[in-house]
């Protein structure tokens, strides 16, 4: 077993560790879907994967490439609809069990996400796909994992557009705006894992990976981040790597070339 690992492998495993048994995992595509699959096969066998399109507890014998991929429709507990899927997240009985996995082009110190555009909204330099269900789930559920590449242009002081609410401007402003507590609660990047101070709503460094340092993480972040509580992350175990490589993505469709 090759115990060296790629950034994608450690990111997937760090995100999978956030998922608890009994969680309902709102999954997107790509690495977020792989993290949901890995959690189910490694540490949270009773977690349930579901999609905003309405498929609940899909079998996922092949990795889907879109949340409307027919691969999510096979052997699901139910194939319903968009209105039903979002109601599952907005409804407190089921919504409080949901953990979402999201990606974004930009994140700020309060965990707000931009998946809409870079530059001016009306004449953007780059236009992205838009909210999809991102704004909805970030508004509704208590825990969200954000997957990000750790780069200065992505960890910004000011978002170009606030698509999905995190702690807004911190210090309880999320709740003051009328949202329930929640939003992005953990950020998993290629360098480390960040969380949010429960009082101020500000991002702090929780773990840095072997081979990275808090200094490297600060160098790749526009805003100031508290690193005083940071510890080195436990590297992926042999079991985690084996299950990820052999049982989740044997063709490396999402993991890409081995390290």
């Amino acid at each position: 077993m090759d115990m060296s690992y790629t950034p994608k492998e450690i990111m997937t495993i760090m995100a999978a560790r956030e998922i608890k048994n009994g969680d309902i995992v709102f999954s997107g595509t790509g690495i977020s879907m792989l993290a949901a699959m890995a959690a189910k096969k490694i540490n949270a066998p009773d977690s349930v994967i579901f999609f905003e399109t309405g498929a609940m507890d899909s079998l996922l014998e092949e990795i889907p490439f879109a949340v409307a991929d027919p691969r999510i429709m096979y052997w699901a507990a139910a194939n319903s609809s968009l209105t039903d899927a979002f109601a599952t997240m907005q409804n407190r009985i089921t919504g409080d069990r949901v953990i979402a996995i999201l990606g974004a082009a930009q994140i700020d110190m309060y965990g707000n996400l931009n998946t809409t555009c870079i530059g001016d909204y009306f004449s953007p330099d780059i236009r992205f796909s838009g909210s999809g269900g991102g704004c909805d789930v970030a508004s509704f559920v208590p825990r969200c994992i954000a997957f990000m590449q750790h780069e200065k242009r992505k960890f910004v002081n000011q978002l170009d557009y606030l698509t999905s609410p995190g702690q807004l401007s911190g210090n309880g402003s999320r709740e003051a705006a009328g949202l329930r507590s929640g939003g992005v609660s953990v950020v998993v990047t290629n360098l480390g894992v960040m969380r949010f101070d429960p009082d101020t709503g500000k991002m702090y460094l929780d773990q840095y990976y072997p081979g990275t340092t808090p200094g490297m993480i600060l160098e790749n972040t526009q805003f100031h981040m508290d690193v005083s509580q940071a510890v080195q992350a436990l590297p992926p175990t042999e079991k985690e790597l084996r299950i990820l490589r052999e049982n989740c993505d044997p063709q490396r469709l999402i993991l890409g070339p081995a390290g």
Binding site: A55, Q90, R127, S139
Partner: protein
């Protein structure tokens, strides 16, 4: 409406009759699944322009229509087409180049807007988006909202909960109803009157259909009424909502139709590659859309081999171990 009206007609006729220049339309499906592609290509061939498109998450159909210049106004939550184009390319370029007017919502907001239209209420509330730029930033010019009677005066409204803190919310976001002139969906089974049976996820097709003045259904299989009436709990759309029925096998191609065929990742890749450049995209649509006179001819050009490669496995509903790079 007569209980036994035969609503079948050729797709060319249904499109020319119900999709007029400037119409407000919506199309069914989600990103690369069950888009009514035969109808999309027919709209492009008939050069119907100035359309106002409502969508939650749309992909292949959206990008073909925008790339062909059919859309002038767009209300949308997401433009993406799976691995081939995580952001729809002609959609992104149209916004970057100021070629279309656009308004961003979330998927739930757009779904609720269709549902409000289907229910006949002016709006529905949600807790989604409070504090976000979706609520604070409006895309359509105010002058357009004021002058066009088919466009609501406000994108959305944040209102106090009229029931105090009941339900644990002090405020809600009210999103306005949508009532399209025409919605087009593609389904697995329909009868001549328009009753539909959808297999797999319905997405928001049912709400989109019920919100619309006119509905065009294209179907893989046109079946006898009795076949659908034997299992009414499998039918999502009763005939009263439907205006026209067109029998178009592979009418969702190159998107997936559960139980029939997968998405054609090779075609979507070719489409995305062409979409990166305006001239290449024109050459692509000249060859694959304008260069044929019907969906049948388009499928002949695609070829039997490509269609066979995406045939769905009867057990799983998708093409098992299909090449999907």
């Amino acid at each position: 409406m007569d209980n036994d009206t035969d609503k079948t007609m050729p797709l060319q006729e249904a499109v020319s009759r119900y999709v007029k220049k400037g119409a407000h339309i919506s199309i069914g499906g989600f990103t690369l699944n069950r888009n009514p592609m035969a109808a999309v290509y027919e709209i492009i061939r008939q050069k119907i322009t100035d359309l106002h498109l409502y969508a939650h998450s749309n992909g292949t159909g959206l990008d073909e229509l925008i790339g062909a210049g059919c859309i002038s106004k767009l209300e949308i939550a997401y433009g993406g087409n799976g691995k081939a184009a995580p952001t729809c390319i002609r959609f992104a370029k149209a916004i970057q180049n100021n070629d279309i007017l656009f308004e961003d919502y979330s998927n739930y907001m757009m779904s609720l807007r269709f549902m409000a239209g289907a229910m006949g209420v002016p709006f529905l509330p949600t807790l989604s988006g409070l504090g976000s730029d979706i609520v604070s930033t409006w895309g359509f010019p105010e002058s357009l909202r004021r002058s066009d009677p088919k466009i609501v005066d406000r994108k959305l409204a944040v209102v106090d909960n009229p029931f105090g803190n009941w339900g644990g919310a002090k405020k809600v976001v009210a999103v306005p109803a949508i009532t399209p002139d025409v919605t087009i969906i593609h389904v697995q089974k329909a009868d001549a009157m328009g009753t539909c049976s959808i297999k797999g996820l319905a997405f928001a097709d049912v709400e989109q259909v019920k919100a619309s003045r006119h509905v065009i259904v294209t179907c893989e299989n046109l079946v006898e009424k009795a076949e659908l009436r034997k299992n009414p709990d499998m039918n999502q759309i009763p005939f009263i909502h439907v205006t026209a029925v067109c029998h178009v096998p592979f009418g969702g191609y190159p998107t997936a139709v559960y139980g029939h065929y997968d998405y054609d990742s090779q075609y979507l890749k070719k489409f995305a590659a062409a979409a990166k450049d305006k001239d290449a995209f024109k050459a692509y649509q000249d060859a694959w859309v304008y260069g044929v006179n019907s969906h049948e001819q388009f499928l002949q050009q695609v070829g039997k081999e490509s269609l066979a490669a995406i045939a769905a496995d009867p057990e799983t509903g998708y093409s098992v171990n299909m090449k999907r790079d």
